[in-house]
């Protein structure tokens, strides 16, 4: 009898062990097969920004490496993507990298391919403004997928389209010029200014940032000139520029900037750098060197970054990019390219996404609603200051402006001002109901802006 009892005990014990083992295996299997999160990246590998393709991917992969344990596949070619990387056991799989060309049409086509054919759950990108408006409209139609911007700076993307599942952790073109209007009026003592900008949405937005702030603090914009994009002969536009103003804001970009300045000199004589403010194109590495010393002293708007910032966070970020990548083709060493608006844009947007994924433990079930709610609440301490999202999923950020100066007889650029807490609305100048920036908008109106008088002078290297 006792022997029988012992036998039953043994059987029970055995059953318990088997059950426990089965449970353990099941749990392990469940953890091992935690659903994969499929991520796609939309970059520009052709068109005007095609040469920055690897910077875009470097930003994404650096964030993946820093915040999700991924590894770059090739330390000399960011476009090869990453391996590994997970959030709470959910692997982060790169399903595809789109190749757009700054055209909205191509961006939509590539987005469809990445999301519908390759089945991505989340898209990081695109790079440029008009592409992002189209992708945000696409996002609106696909509420169960999540989209974070790459580096696009169109205002409409977040202010007008307002897709609840599209998030932007970088600034827009107008925000990037915050501080310049205050500088022109209160430091350079301009009372009147003229504006010249390329005749398309990014340049309108860029100029709108200057106009909104300069007018807000009491300045008056007396003339706005808009040469068509890709103009080659700027002489007729330079002739239209008034000389009876205190200064000129120039938002002519890319290949047009130097021909415009030359045409201006031919029309009105030598340029006085102190009477000019440029947008980000003036400070772009590879661009400003060609401006020659004629523009020494000119102030320049940024793109939400400051390569010479000497804070610990900014230095650590540069080092992180340099740790993940040795080179970023075609421009060479990786670390100096960390502050490119493209590298940083893709980096900070990927970081915001990963923070959201961490908050929900990598759970993208339920049409990604929990993830989207979590991303909305993400707050980051970025290399360039604190950041949070507003009600339209648009980041409120610190922005920087620079000045061109002579260093060993050559033109160089240094960061001279930081404006904290810049938001997209410019104190109500821009809203969902106001006309988008254009040839005649915004109007020149005096109003109060939250950041006026709060400019700080950050520590810089060199």
């Amino acid at each position: 009898m006792n022997a029988l009892k012992g036998k039953w005990k043994l059987v029970t014990l055995g059953a318990l062990v088997v059950a426990a083992a089965a449970l353990a295996t099941a749990t392990a299997t469940a953890r091992g097969s935690a659903s994969t999160i499929k991520i796609a990246v939309l970059s520009d590998c052709q068109g005007a920004f095609g040469s920055f393709d690897n910077q875009d991917l470097a930003g994404v992969v650096t964030a993946m490496s820093q915040f999700a344990g991924a590894k770059a596949k090739n330390p000399n070619k960011p476009r090869d993507g990453w391996t590994g990387g997970s959030i709470n056991g959910h692997p982060l799989k790169l399903v595809g990298i789109g190749c757009s060309n700054d055209r909205a049409d191509t961006a939509i086509k590539e987005t469809k391919r990445l999301m519908e054919q390759l089945g991505a759950d989340i898209l990081i990108g695109p790079l440029s403004g008009d592409e992002s408006i189209a992708v945000a409209n696409y996002a609106k139609q696909h509420p169960t997928k999540t989209f974070v911007d790459g580096s696009a700076g169109a205002q409409d993307t977040t202010l007008k389209v307002r897709a609840p599942n599209f998030f932007r952790f970088n600034g827009d073109g107008a925000m990037w010029n915050a501080g310049l209007g205050d500088l022109a009026k209160n430091k350079l003592h301009w009372k009147t200014a003229a504006v010249v900008a390329d005749d398309y949405s990014f340049a309108w937005t860029s100029a709108a940032g200057f106009i909104a702030e300069f007018c807000a603090v009491g300045g008056n914009v007396t003339k706005r000139v808009f040469p068509p994009l890709n103009t080659t002969d700027y002489s007729s536009y330079a002739q239209q520029m008034p000389t009876n103003v205190d200064g000129t804001f120039v938002a002519v970009g890319g290949a047009g900037l130097i021909p415009f300045l030359k045409a201006y000199e031919q029309a009105h004589g030598p340029i006085d750098g102190k009477k000019f403010i440029g947008n980000l194109f003036w400070g772009t590495p590879g661009q400003f060197q060609q401006l020659s010393t004629r523009v020494v002293g000119a102030y320049v708007g940024g793109a939400g970054t400051a390569g010479d910032l000497a804070t610990a966070a900014a230095k650590a970020y540069n080092a992180e990019v340099g740790k993940v990548f040795k080179t970023i083709p075609p421009f060479g060493a990786a670390a100096p390219q960390a502050s490119s608006t493209f590298t940083y844009g893709y980096y900070v947007n990927t970081w915001g996404l990963l923070d959201g994924l961490k908050a929900v433990g990598g759970d993208i079930s339920g049409g990604q609603k929990k993830l989207q709610a979590a991303i909305k609440n993400v707050k980051l301490s970025t290399p360039y200051g604190p950041l949070h999202l507003d009600k339209n999923n648009q980041a409120v950020i610190n922005v920087f402006y620079q000045q061109l100066y002579l260093k060993n007889g050559k033109l160089a650029v240094k960061t001279v001002g930081e404006i904290p807490g810049v938001d997209q609305t410019f104190g109500g100048t821009f809203s969902t109901s106001t006309p988008a920036p254009g040839r005649t908008s915004p109007k020149c109106v005096k109003r109060s802006l939250p950041w006026i008088g709060k400019t700080i002078h950050p520590p810089v290297t060199g």
Binding site: C45, C99, R103, N137, Q141, R439
Partner: protein, 343 residues
Amino acid sequence: MRAVNPDRVVGVIALVLAVAAPLYVSPYWVGTLLTQMLFLGIVAASLIFLSAYGGMVSLAQVAIYGIAGFVVGNATTNGNTKGLNLGWNPWWGVVAGIAVAVAVGFLFGALASRSVGIYFLMITLTYSVIANLTFGQVTDVSGFGGISGIPAPASVGPVDAHQNRLYYVTLGAALAIYVLLRYVSRTPFGLTLQGVRDDPVRMASLGYNVALHRTAAFAFASFVAAVGGVLFVWWNGHIDPASIDLGATIDVLVIAVVGGLYRLEGAWVGALFFVIVNNYSQQISFIGARFHTLIGAIFLVIVLVSPGGLVGLWERVVAVASGRRRGPPDRNPIEVGQVEPSI
């Protein structure tokens, strides 16, 4: 017993496959690739109609398709985008889009109707450039960034949520256009047009108004291209000047030539080929961004091997299989060197 016409058999099989497509291919194929193939085929068909029956190789078809698309965009969007934002009912947008495109097509046609060969090609290329630059520079109706968020009518859209609906609408439109073009080519108008193509001087001496016939044919082809343009903006939800730039113009010419520039069916055959190559070549890493190099090489091979395009290749296969030694003689698809007497 009559021999079975292999063209008809293939046609019926293609139609059955197209109608049943949502049952056996992925939603991406239906919603993106096949729908795109159908409306690109419609635009290419307007080009093939002009070329095959009128002897006019036009590079303005994409401009016309863009005009229809921009009118629909301006008329039917409601705030939050560039353009006029008139907020009309989408069906009124369709009417306006097609009407404006046909009117502009009539004007374009009238101006180009006395040119032939390479001169006609150059004039229509100019139209394409004018349309592209006009929409780029006139910021009231578009500007560089274009118009986003263009809605499809409620019974068709929202397009992304109901991809099969737009697919069937586009399939229906493509079929209707095909039947219409076949029908028109057999009417007295179509026969006269073919007479104008073959010998304009003789047609003029017989009392036909050659220039008016060409103009009318151009306006009619504009109607066909405009239908393609409307379907394009419904599908894409967005149109900008880059949608109708030189690249897009060349793409449609490539589709028509690859498919076969002298038979209407070539339009959709070429479009299917183009769309598939475009989509899948992106995934081959060493091609990726070099799609246009690839399609250019294929274009060259097809023009050299089979000037009649893929449809011409098919005709040869059928001819050989049916016992004829040689296939039908290849017709030169682009007779741009031809200079005809002034009329």
